[in-house]
């Protein structure tokens, strides 16, 4: 507190001194009306200033200067300036004007100057309505700095009743809005009024430039003072349909530090009396259609969470493992998946990701924010466009099914407030064919497995190539292959028999005798060929000693098959003859039935023999 006083007196001295230097420059611009509204309802101080600037000088001015004391400039998270035209319903706001820090050479120390570039020069006699929004983080001071569990949290806010400006102000007023309709104490200057939950200072008329009247407001605030010392957001895109966001938080309660012990019993019995300064819940507003939400920390899953979803957003309410009192820390990770079509777009030849920058948690101040965007393998990043200044760098990450690694864009920013949750874009190029790389890699992996199997089956790993058991195995392999070939031939014979039977049935249906005879001819020739093929196989089997067991069966099969063949041929000839002679159906039936029975029996036996040979 003493240090603050010293700062302010120094400031006053320098302000008075610099009045002489700056009077020449700023004699032209005059602020005719200024309304300042400072909102203290959360731990981020938001000040909105609407002012009307008039150019009373001869030259056109294109720049508007805005100084801030150094302790405020250090904690300045956001400064936006817009031009407002019209009143009430016809209000039109322009885009945010460019703001930059300048260093005028005659500036007193401990002042930081921001220069706002006007889009059009303000001509002689012209006037302009500006609206300036400032968000300051970490500037509220808990006083007393240490409290017990039963105390309420009291905060001190220090500022000036008049706005610090290098221009003369004709009329200005200040409204300070408190979170609750009561206040411990506040500086009573002239024209001060406290009503409801607002303190009004002003109106002050005809103030010279650099007037600075320090004021302090000491009030009760039990709103959660959530500050994330470190937040790492990782956004991973997969073109197969998902954007996965993983956020790791390291939170601290940045209000009055708790003194003494924490009694869980008292807290649970009377949470409003014994624990008014603590907070239990945090609310995060996730985009709509977020799925697979998880909330965990190093220990494991934290089950005290709730999700409510509707078509415009998904509300996630999380409760850390313990209530957060002043000075207490907690770390956790939140993750969720988002559908791809809400955030990834194609424009021209490029794709771009359009996603909010800051954290989804309400009213959170982040000291160090790192946003990492992981693009799929094979993408080429072209540009990143963020609406405010960030520090960019690139990394590589190796993730599922990666060969080379995925490109990562890393954006870093300090002192982030919820107003920074604006959409930013990352532009990159990616061809759809690169999407095939992942399944082709898997296919190739499985193919290598199969090739290994093939190689193993074909390779010969025996140590001694002349041992009797090895030679016996070789011979048995040969016998087996011969038998397989023999079986193939027999099966072909059987197929020919079946064809003949089918031709007979066709004959009975269509009466086409010529086709029947032609079928018989082809059958005859095929059977002759098959018989020829059979001969070398049988001779090999007869010569090899290993086949001693099988040989009788094989020969039996050949004999039976020959019999079957003869019988079928007989039947066929009888039927064809009878057709030729056009004898009665009953006649043919009689002659054929006996043959038919024998054929069926023989066929059965042949099939059995084939099965037994198979089993060996």
């Amino acid at each position: 507190m003493a240090r603050m006083r010293f700062d302010l007196t120094l400031l006053l001295l320098f302000a008075f001194g610099s009045f002489l230097f700056f009077s020449a420059v700023s004699a032209d611009l005059v602020i005719s009306k200024l309304d300042r509204r400072i909102d203290l309802s959360s731990h981020i101080v938001r000040a909105t200033t609407s002012l009307k600037v008039e150019n009373n000088g001869a030259e056109a001015i294109s720049e508007f200067l805005l100084p801030f004391p150094e302790h405020q400039a250090k904690n300045l998270a956001l400064l936006t300036v817009i031009i407002v035209e019209g009143k009430g319903k016809s209000k039109v706001s322009s885009e945010s004007l460019p703001v930059r820090i300048v260093n005028p050479k005659d500036s007193p120390p401990s002042l930081v100057w921001y220069s706002i570039t006007l889009p059009k020069e303000l001509g002689k006699g012209g006037s302009l309505n500006l609206e300036i929004k400032v968000a300051l983080s970490n500037i509220l001071r808990p006083f007393p700095e240490k409290i017990t569990q039963a105390d309420v949290q009291l905060i001190v806010f220090q500022d000036s009743a008049q706005v610090l400006s290098p221009y003369a102000v004709h009329m200005q007023s200040l409204t300070v809005k408190l979170p609750e309709p009561k206040v411990e104490s506040y500086t009573k200057l002239e024209n001060t009024k406290f009503s409801g939950s607002e303190i009004k200072y002003g109106p002050y008329e005809n103030q010279p430039p650099f007037t600075y009247t320090p004021l302090a407001v000491h009030y009760v605030s039990n709103k959660p003072f959530v500050v994330a010392r470190e937040l790492v957001r990782e956004i991973e895109i997969s073109h197969w349909g998902n954007v996965q966001v993983t956020e790791s938080y390291s939170l601290v309660h940045a209000g009055a530090v708790i003194l003494g012990e924490f009694s869980r019993l008292e807290y649970q019995a009377q949470p409003h009396l014994r624990g008014a300064s603590a907070f239990r819940h945090l609310i995060a507003k996730l985009p709509a259609r977020a799925h697979s939400i998880y909330y965990r920390d190093d220990i494991g899953n934290i089950s005290t969470s709730n999700v409510w979803g509707d078509s415009s957003m998904t509300l996630l309410q999380i409760e850390p493992r313990f209530p957060m009192f002043g000075g207490w820390k907690t770390t956790f990770t939140i993750g969720y998946g988002l559908p791809l079509k809400d955030f990834l777009f194609k424009s021209g030849g490029e794709r771009f990701l359009n996603i909010p920058f800051g954290s989804p948690i309400d009213d959170l101040v982040i000291d160090n924010l790192t946003v990492k965007i992981v693009l799929p393998e094979g993408s080429k990043i072209t540009s990143v466009s963020v609406p405010f200044s960030v520090k960019q760098s690139k990394q590589e990450k190796i993730s599922h099914l990666d060969v080379v690694g995925r490109p990562v864009v890393v954006l870093e920013k300090t002192n982030v407030v919820p107003e920074h949750s604006q959409y930013f874009q990352v532009y990159y190029k990616f061809s759809n064919l690169s999407l095939l790389q992942e399944p082709l890699m898997l296919v190739f992996g499985y193919f290598l497995l199969f090739v290994a199997c093939i190689a193993y089956v074909r390779a010969d790993f025996t140590i001694s190539k002349s041992s009797p058991s090895y030679l016996a195995k070789l011979q048995w392999d040969e016998v087996r292959s011969t038998i397989q070939q023999f079986e193939g031939v027999v099966n072909q014979c059987l197929i020919v028999h079946d064809k003949l039977q089918a031709s007979l049935r066709d004959l009975s249906r269509t009466g086409d005798l010529q086709a029947c005879k032609a079928a018989r001819k082809t059958a005859d020739s095929t059977l002759k060929e098959l018989l020829k093929d059979l001969k070398p196989l049988i001779s090999f089997l007869q010569s090899s000693p290993q086949a001693a067991q099988i040989l009788p069966k094989v020969e039996e099969l050949v004999a039976k098959e020959k019999e079957l063949q003869e019988k079928i041929m007989q039947k066929h000839s009888i039927v064809v003859e009878s057709y030729d002679k056009k004898s009665g159906i009953k006649d043919t039936e009689n002659r054929v039935t006996a043959l038919e029975q024998k054929i069926v029996l023989l066929r059965q036996e042949v099939d059995d023999l084939v099965d037994t040979i198979d089993e060996i």
Partner: protein, 78 residues
């Protein structure tokens, strides 16, 4: 004046992922089974390399795509 902006989604509708995974994996396993049956029952002389390679190519194609869609269906968006 500005080029049109179209949202991008996955080339295959994501509701089909489990069905495609099941279909591909079943086919892949059936072809793998036939490959191994061929290996087991054929003798050294009768094996044909082209048949083996063809069967293994078809099997690895189905198994590869099936396991990719299985990963996607179970939430590992590779």
């Amino acid at each position: 004046m500005a080029p049109s902006v179209k949202p991008i989604s996955s080339p295959v509708p994501s509701e089909w992922y489990p069905s495609i995974a099941l279909f591909m994996l079943c086919n892949g396993l059936v072809v793998t089974a036939s490959f191994f049956i061929y290996e087991a029952t054929s003798s050294r002389k009768n094996r044909s390399l082209t048949k083996e390679l063809f069967t293994s190519a078809v099997a690895s194609f189905f198994l590869g795509f099936g396991s990719l869609f299985l990963l996607l269906a179970s939430g590992v968006y590779v």
